[in-house]
Point group: C2
Chain length 458, copies 2
């Protein structure tokens, strides 16, 4: 069985390794445009900010490591053509463009082409000093340019934008981050929770400008600044953290159906063409709560999809379930995470909600080093928890995972309020902040019901 | 409505505060033998080891704080008599023993008498320098004595024993801990996981002796050492951390039914006498997995029971669910926790199991400061997860909480292996250690089933 996988990121390589796990004879080839494979793009900002020493460190594996598993990896190769009729791809090596294209035939093709940064069509975006951020190469270029710069503007205050801004700040630059929407992390956090993150990064020294759009980038040859509502902000460099678009070109060429957001796949990660599978940022998935198709551009999603695709290709039935899009990030000492729907997204989907909140501590009140923790829980009017956001200087990620389970299992705030949580003074409060937020939600729900009854009785 | 609550710990005071939440007119009196109320006995070792400054710090509330909620607290008072026919108790103040006993009548009585340390009948246990550990007073005495001592023996290597041993070590003493059973933390950890904790405390400098019983304590007037299988271990002080027995004397006096372990209560925390409730370490509960009655001497259990008792007393139906006994502790930098059944307890209950294990990291592999984490997951032969133990130098407690939910919801290892977990390089691995352990359990289960099939086909 010949398997060709296009893409050397989390999705592609997980598929490759897992196919090998089930089938020791399969001929597996991974082909990627990138020079590096098996690195975590989410780690790039942490190299910039100096927490991780160098870009080499974040590369988990080299092509040679895969050869040991008898998986062939071709790097710096551009796939030129996919023929789903002939079951062949054509590619050329980027360093040998003059040589004739090579061919690879397949029994199964896996498209794991990921995403490409979206750069909005703005005047000046072609100037020297304007950067996108996706690959290690991008990271290296940014670092090199930042070393001789003193002022940077980051466009877009999503996760990557904030992380890069903090990285550049730590490199000693004067950093401004601008965001069209009037809050940071608009995809995952509600404004009330986002404001806590914003305050933190502002306090660290990042200049945050919200609710305003950049008009243009100015400069001659190289960047000198940006124009924002007729005001000029000086800058030596501009990082466009304006999102990533699924890379669907090859899938389209193969004739795979493309949905609203990205490549359509069924629960087995199979595209509309039976022997072509797709995984990772280039596919669209279903939201576990709304049931609508959505994107899930997360490394964890790519890994989970790669496992499912590999099983199905190897003949073992497996299904990828709708997502909750649980996320976490850490900027400086601040961890923040979210799972499920925000208040805003719930309302946009016509779901009426109540929210439970708690502000508590990460250890017993008297224990030295206890940090403040904020929890927001979103429930529908039956009390079923459909979203959660948590912010603290420690112990957020695992609480988000707990909440993922709570949401996946359809638990109500009152069921959660009665759950058992572990306790020891150095690591938790006797009543967990999650329980406190669930109790708050229960109280609000019973007040709501009481008010309804009062209204009915009048 | 008059409510008398005997006991000023987590169970008693939670009941008091929560009754006030639902009933602003109730006359609530809390009566306790102790001088202090509202402190966390689990924090005492952390004061000894110097992580928390002083015993004052771990007292969360004073009697005056409760007066603000119109809850009367009587400290240093011994309840002499409970009459469930007259609905009255008699008590005397410890400092005024000569005065006639006072009386309090009640509509509802709540017994939250906790537990008392169990001291095995061993020769020499009456010597000066032998201590039990339960109250702040005990903690103060131990600290004072330790300040003029150089060698200590701690008897019992459960949680409290280990924590106290580490506390004394940090005070500069030469510490030996001895445990009859051939492992540390026998109630919560299996031997393989316990050995990791043992290695850690040994490395810190505690002398650990397992599988041996103390014959006697020797000395004249004050402790000089202990005898252990004909060998003398010198010591200036001996701490008996040999467990706690539920304090059921008053409940017996009232005529409440006592079960195998402690006071029997129904799901509403009501004893066999309708207007007497009981909560905390003095009651017995049901195990969520085996269905058998068991003990749950945990602050979190006491708090959850107090809330349930308060609701029912206030006329709001609420039920306390069977327990999973989730626990966590931190000794030095090592966190360890467990929930559900150990392998050993499962086998004792006739449940055949397979175990999934993982040894991984708490952050991305390349991220500085990543710590080793060990996870052990116990599943029945249908793959349903019934227990979990986790050890690492960070981020254990919340993972235990995640596993509590997993077990409470009856999830299988294969369901868990497909769950969504959040990821960012500074806070997690792209595949969570919990997922890795679940996958290991899945593999073992499918091997087991394959072997079965092989056997059948022969």
């Amino acid at each position: 069985m010949k398997i060709v996988i296009i893409g050397g990121g989390a999705g592609g390589l997980t598929t490759a390794s897992n196919i090998r796990k089930y089938d020791e004879n399969a001929e597996i080839t991974v082909i990627t445009r990138d020079e590096h494979i098996a690195y975590s793009p989410c780690a790039i900002p942490y190299v910039l900010c100096g927490e991780v020493d160098c870009f080499e460190d974040i590369i988990m594996h080299k092509p040679e490591d895969y050869l040991e598993k008898d998986i062939k990896v071709i790097t710096r190769a551009e796939v030129l053509e996919v023929s789903s009729i002939a079951n062949k791809i054509k590619y050329s090596l980027i360093d040998k463009k003059d040589e004739p294209a090579e061919e690879l035939s397949y029994d199964f093709l896996v498209i794991a082409t990921g995403g490409t940064p979206f750069i909005p069509p703005v005047e000046g975006s072609e100037l020297e000093g304007v950067f996108k951020i996706r690959t290690i190469k991008d990271g290296l270029k940014i670092r090199e340019y930042a070393e001789k710069s003193s002022k940077a503007v980051v466009v877009g205050a999503g996760l990557i934008g904030l992380e890069i801004a903090y990285g550049l700040l730590n490199m000693g630059l004067d950093v401004t981050i601008i965001e069209m929407i009037p809050q940071v992390v608009p995809r995952s956090l509600d404004p009330d929770m986002a404001s806590l993150v914003q305050k933190y990064v502002s306090k660290k020294g990042i200049n945050v400008i919200l609710g305003k759009s950049m008009d243009k980038i100015v400069g001659e040859n190289h960047v000198k600044g940006i124009v924002l509502e007729d005001k000029i902000i000086e800058a030596d460099m501009v990082i466009m953290a304006t999102g990533v678009r699924p890379e669907t070109k090859l899938a389209k060429m193969a004739g795979c159906n493309i949905g609203r957001w990205a490549i359509q796949v069924n629960e087995e990660m199979q595209t509309s063409i039976p022997n072509i599978y797709a995984v990772g940022d280039c596919v669209e998935v279903y939201d576990a709560i709304t049931g609508h198709n959505t994107q899930s551009p997360l490394g964890t999603t790519a890994v989970r999809q790669g496992k499912i695709a590999a099983k199905n290709i190897a003949g073992i039935k497996a299904e990828f379930k709708p997502v909750l899009n649980s996320m976490v990030s850490k900027i400086g000492d601040l961890e923040f995470g979210a799972v499920g729907l925000t208040n805003a997204v719930a309302l946009n989907n016509g779901i009426d909600v109540i929210t439970g909140k708690s502000r508590a501590l990460t250890k017993a009140r008297y224990y030295p080093g206890a940090k403040r923790i904020d929890v927001k829980m979103i429930c529908n009017l039956k009390g079923v928890i459909i979203g959660c956001q948590i912010i603290a200087e420690e112990r957020v990620a695992e609480r988000i995972d707990t909440m993922s389970l709570v949401i996946a299992k359809g638990m109500t705030c009152s069921e959660l309020a009665n759950m058992e949580f572990s306790y020891a003074p150095p690591v938790s409060m006797v009543i967990d902040p999650i329980i406190l937020a669930a109790e708050d939600a229960c109280d609000k729900l019973s007040n709501l019901n009481k008010n309804k009854e009062d209204k009915i009785s009048f």
